[in-house]
Amino acid sequence: MTDFLTVSLGFILAMLALGLIRVLRGPGEADRMMAAQLIGTGGIAALLLLGSVADLSAAIDVALTLALLATFASIAFVKKGLSRLGAESSAAREDGSAWRSTS
């Protein structure tokens, strides 16, 4: 049984590695964020499997923390953080095209 779960863990890690290609290639910022989201979810699954394989019950707590905070990177991407320092100068330079992806 442990062998099966270890192989599943390896498979999920391989999927994460493939997902990395999208983080690196983009082309748009939304694409990179999506890939990061998928890797985050895969990482949670990997942690669950790892906790089961290595018999570490606290690994579920780590997975729980990651699942709880899984939205934060994407929220930061959409909201540009909390502070508006520097926003004026960005707007002036960008002709309002702040969201244009680089594709």
Binding site: S83, L85, G86, E88, S89
Partner: protein
């Protein structure tokens, strides 16, 4: 080769990459990222030392672990301070670079300080 050795090599390489980025990157935010990378490598090295020092029924020496947790807190507060400084620099000078000539462009000050 043990699991800890694999991560030790990885961490040492992360320190090297972080140091290189810190020295070479022209953009301040990239320097902040590189510094965090360097720090994470140092933390993992501590973790490897803790893992090697497993004894007395602990899977990992608790003292380096506690040091790393303290380190993570301090590294985060330093990062937050650096990011705040950088955004303020952008606001005051209109550009986020460390080069000396950029002070010539600091004619506008939207916050009116």
């Amino acid at each position: 080769m043990s699991i800890a050795s694999v991560f030790a090599l990885c961490a040492a390489a992360a320190v090297g990459l972080g140091l290189y980025g810190l020295l070479v990157s022209p953009q301040p935010l990239r320097k902040i990222l590189a510094f965090n990378l360097l720090g994470s490598g140092v933390f993992v090295l501590f973790g490897v030392v803790a893992r090697r020092g497993a004894a007395a029924g602990f899977a990992s020496d608790p003292i380096p672990q506690a040091l790393v947790i303290t380190g993570i807190v301090v590294a985060f507060s330093a990062t937050a301070l650096a990011v705040a400084l950088l955004l303020r620099l952008l606001q005051v000078s209109g550009s986020a670079t460390l080069a000396a000539h950029s002070s010539a462009r600091s004619s506008r000050d939207p916050a009116g300080t």
